[in-house]
Amino acid sequence: MRSEGANGLALVSPAALYAILLLAVPLCVIFAFSFWTQDYLTIDRTWTLKNYTEAFTEPLYGELLRRSILISGSVTLVTVVLAFPIAYFVSFYVAPERKSLWIFLITIPFWTSYLIRVFLWKVILGFNGVINTSLQGLGIIDEPLTFILYNANAVVITLAHAFAPFAILPIFVALEKIDRSLIEASLDLGENRVTTFLRVTLPLAMPGVVAAVLIVFIPTIGDYVTPRLVGGPDGLMIANMIQTQFLKLNNAPMGATLAIIAMASVTVIALAFVGLNRRFLRGPK
């Protein structure tokens, strides 16, 4: 009989090989591409840093990257801050047998067509949209609000909606794991509800918060549907440029370079964030 290790490897190999062939290898190819250049219809395979020099000196790329990081950061902040009370509510105030119903309710909108949802935000936020017509109908405003569509605000609102379950679920899982007797102990020992929350509950929930931040921040940087539909000219992000380079300008190497730079920036920020929260992530002694 084969050893346990060999059995395990044999069983995991289809998924692993698939991921190597269709994920790891393509990622390496993209990395290589970023050092090559486009020579009209062919790829010039001489290794050069030309794309990187261009990416760092051309102000447009730098501006797009800065804006993308800023928008992704705002989306993450808004999403996680809005999500925490919901996770807290479901974990601490909802009866145990109804928790999975709440989680189900929260996840349903996430599974419906992404394009349609983004498009409907355009309808909600638009000049003649739901918000403007209802506020005008109620006599609260006289002129339609214009700061809510075709700019970065609209992108933040729409993405905060799209990524809500991604933020709620990890925080909920972390809160569920908290031993409730620790909270009782803290209250018995003279802390009030606020200080108990700040000194016991929140630190114990931090692994979930960190996971939520990462799982929202990293994918949002690569979104190009939302910026394209609701962002207007000032809400476009780096992914829109990557798409343009690949499909419109037919300059795959430049697109690859921008993709690598975007990924590298996100990774550095994510690692720095994890590092800052190191002390919360250690397991119980």
């Binding site: 393509p26 928790k99 419906t112 349609i116 739901v130 017509t133 909606h161 979104d223 795959a252």
Partner: protein
């Protein structure tokens, strides 16, 4: 009463989450080509219109084919990986599982462009099959996440008892393990199907000349006069997604109940 503010907030948050889905049918049945309030009247014209667009039917069939194939392959890979992860300890386990789960956090555009570049460099022409390749890659982590919990809930001693009673490892897997994780398998297939049916970014890059439904929708969003029809289609899609998800949730709960565990959370 404590918690009342949290409860109010939770309800408002659900309104925020459901706002687009509630508006969708309102405009789909509205008798005007302009998507704005006030609503002008009730009509089912947009749904009738849907049945007349040939290009859309092709896109629907294409998407269904891609979604079904993706669901089957992603779940097969998911079963192997989740079983290996739960049943065995093997060298490099964390690294290998990490790599397989990576598409869960990787921006889709990165997956899309890297696959695009490799396929074009190898001289393949794009089509439904290249979209399937990409979709299997992003659906497998979801499948593993669902099946992981299904396998975790499994009582190892049941399988051991079957082997003690003379079954082979394979027949005990088929007779004991498989029926117990079957709800997880069905739920994984439904989730993969739903993800693939909705996925736009990878499909947009890899679809070639045969658009999937989301790619077709994306093209239609540019024409204002076609928007009501798009919303009618969206209404049908959302209804289908909700039905499929309710089924998936039903099977997931049955799986939890079958394994004799109490239910604590959702899919992810």
């Amino acid at each position: 009463m404590k918690g009342i503010w949290l409860r109010v907030y939770a309800v408002l948050y659900l309104v925020f989450l459901y706002a687009p889905i509630i508006l969708l049918p309102l405009f789909a049945f509205n008798d005007s080509t302009i998507i704005a309030f006030p609503l002008t009247g009730f009509t089912t014209n947009w749904f009738v219109e849907l049945t007349k667009i040939e290009a859309m039917h092709a896109a629907v069939l294409n998407s269904l084919f891609i979604a079904i194939t993706t669901a089957v392959f992603a779940t097969l890979l998911g079963i192997c990986a989740a079983r290996a992860n739960n049943r065995y300890r093997f060298p490099g386990q964390r690294g290998i599982m990490g790599m397989v789960m990576l598409p869960l956090v990787l921006p889709e555009i990165i997956v899309a462009v890297s696959l695009l570049v490799v396929l074009l460099q190898l001289g393949f022409s794009l089509g439904s099959w290249s979209v399937i390749l990409g979709h299997v890659l992003i659906c497998t982590p979801f499948s593993i996440a669902i099946l992981n919990s299904a396998f975790q809930n499994l009582d190892r001693s049941l399988e051991e008892a079957a082997i003690d009673l003379g079954e082979t490892p394979f027949s005990s897997f088929r007779l004991i393990t498989l029926p117990l994780v079957m709800p997880g398998i069905i739920s994984s297939m439904l989730i993969s199907f739903t993800i693939s049916l909705d996925e736009f970014i990878i499909a947009f890059f890899l679809t070639g000349n045969e658009p999937t439904l989301p790619v077709y929708l994306w093209a239609q969003l540019r024409f204002p006069q076609k928007l009501p029809v798009v919303l009618a289609l969206g209404t049908l899609l959302v209804a289908l997604s909700i039905i499929l998800l309710t089924c998936a949730e039903f099977f997931r709960r049955r799986g939890v109940a079958r394994a004799g565990k109490s239910d604590t959370g959702g899919f992810l």
